[in-house]
Each structure stands twice: as C-alpha cells, then as structure tokens.
Symmetry: C2
Subunit: 166 residues, 2 copies
DNA sequence: GTGCATCCGTACGCTACCGTATGGAGGAGC
DNA sequence: GCTCCTCCATACGGTAGCGTACGGATGCAC
C-alpha cells in the first residue's frame, strides 16, 4: 500500500481501487479530478481553521493562547496531512486556499496577542513569527529522526516563552 | 516558460529542451533521472549548510546569532527553491538529505545558543523552535500576499526577541 | 586515412494517468 | 410489464514522461 498522503496520491484510479470501485463510478460523482481536489482542500481548510478556533474558544479555562498551543501541539498525527497540503501550495487550486488559511490563523493569533495587551504593530509581527514556528514544527515532525530527542513538554515550554518574549 | 522550480519540473525532457539539447544527450551524462535528482539535492545540501555556516563564521563583527538571522532573512530570493526541496521531502531520495540538513542547522543554532550561556537542555529545545520559525517563514514567503504587510525590520526584531526570550 | 572514443539527435516502446463512450443492473412510478 | 432514473463496470483513446536503440558527427591516435 502507498503512502496514503501526498498530492500525487490523490489520483482517480488509485482512489477508486482503494475504495473497491472503478473510474466509471468516480466520474459519476465528480466532474473531473479538479473537483475532487477542490473538495478535499476545502474540507481541510474548514477543519483546519474554524474547527480549531472554535475548539479553543469554547474551552473556557486558562489562557486562550496556551490552549491554542496545547491544541496544535497535541495532535501530531494530523501533521503529515497538513504538511502535504502546504507542500502542494504551488498548485493553482491549492495556493489561494492555503494563503487564506494562513491569514485566518495569523489574524487569530494576532487578536489573542492584542487581547494580552501587546501593541498592534508588535502583535502583527509576533503573530507571524509564532505561526511560522508552528509551521516549521510541522516540517520537522515530518522529518524522520529530527524530533525524536525532544520532549513535548520542552516544546510547549519554548512556545510559551516565545509568546511572552519582551 | 514554466515555474523553473518544483520537483515536478525537474524533468528530463523539459530540462533538456530548456538547455537546447535532447534526451539523447542527457542520458549520456546521467544514468537516469534519479542520478540527476541526487546531484541537485546534494548540491543544495552543501550550499544550504556549510556555505551559510562559513559565511556566518568568518564575518567576525557582532554576535554570530544576529549575523545568522541577517543572513537567512536577507536572501528571500532563495526561499522558493529551498521550500520546494523541503516540500519534496516525502521522496525517498530527498527525505534523508533534508533530515540531515535539518539536524546540521539545528545543531549549529544550538551551539550558538550554548555559546551565549544557555543551559544545554533549553538550548536544544530553543534551537528547534527557532529553526522551525525560520522554516515557517519560508512557507509564508511563498504564500502570495501573506507577508506583504510586514517589514523585514519587524521580522528581524521579533526573531531577535525570540532568541533572547527567558 | 583508418579505427576508436566521445558526445549528441531521432525514433521507438513502455507505463501511468486522465477523461469518455457505452452498456447494464436495480429500483420507482404507473 | 414498460419506462426512466441512478449508479457502476468495462473498454478505449489520448497525453506526458522515462528509458533504450541506434545512427551520425567530431576529434584524436597512429
């Protein structure tokens, strides 16, 4: 069996065979492969932004930024999927959606920093760098052996230190 | 003309046509496409680690970590190439090389943090998060419109703040 | 000048994948 | 029972890209 992730593996015949169907069935439900890609990416964009933000917002105890760090660090199993989608951002169907997700997330972090009293300009720049650290963490999680030696508690501690940096 | 970057564009016939040659010529110099990929990735691994580290080491004025930040933030034009190679890390020929580059760079940042007096365990974790921020910065640079509003001086300031965070 | 090594071009086979054409099974309505 | 709609399978055409076969040119040794 293949890698199960990756834009290249989002192929019509491969997907159909995995389900146990054929191409004839696929092309009844989807007009073409582009429609499938759109559906997958749009689904990801939803669960990767609104769902996470809602999850953080409704869990009322403690600081929201801390809860956000716990949420994004607590689900390393979703890292490969997200990283593969980001890696396909050069595709014309995926790039705009990814950019939209980036801006939504950065703006959310910026608002949380503002709520902690950080000045507007600094909050904007800090939000970008913090989110960049999250993205790079995805990359490193995907590289075999690079993150094996580091404990998640250390990571959490460093992320929180970056939030509170002067 | 195409995008000039991206693993998919590293194709034999496309490359040959771009130079003005043909496949027959290519297969005289390379055994197959895998050998070409190996050569490109290995070349990148060299210039992306040893070259940068040497550049930082020999420029003697000021703090080494600050110089490193200036070097990596000062060459945004190399971001697309690096980002595309990282995005192809699921390829069996590229993944190990990328992991090697990650570890080399993280260890370098860790040593610089140690030289500033940071405790070993914290330096190891901090180096990973700092490097992750650099990687995420590559991702955001590639997303159109996301980084337009932020000035490089602000970015530099935030990176330095992350270095000195408690 | 003849033989040999080097380098390159043309033509072909092969595979993977997308998309289409076409027929057929099974249920719903009447 | 006839018809139509929904869903699926088989078979085919078309394209992109990798790798190979083979012939031709160019230069060097002798």
């Amino acid at each position: 069996m293949g890698t199960r992730v990756g834009f290249k593996n989002l192929a019509v015949e491969l997907l159909a065979a995995e389900i146990g169907a054929t191409k004839g069935s696929f092309y009844w439900h989807f007009r073409d492969r582009a429609e499938l890609v759109d559906a997958v990416v749009e689904q990801w964009a939803h669960t990767a932004t609104e769902a996470i933000i809602a999850d953080v917002e409704e869990g009322g105890s403690g600081d929201a930024l801390e809860r956000l760090v716990d949420v994004v660090l607590g689900h390393p199993e979703s890292a490969p999927t997200e990283w593969r989608i980001l890696g396909a951002a050069d595709h014309p169907q995926i790039g705009p959606v990814v950019a939209r997700v980036h801006e939504t997330r950065i703006d959310y972090v910026r608002r949380l920093l503002r709520a902690r009293g950080m000045a507007p300009a600094r909050a904007a720049a800090r939000a970008r760098v913090l989110y960049a650290a999250y993205l790079g963490n995805l990359v490193l999680l995907d590289a075999p052996g690079v993150m094996d030696a580091v404990k998640r508690s250390s990571l959490r501690r460093e992320f929180l230190a970056l939030i509170d940096a002067p």
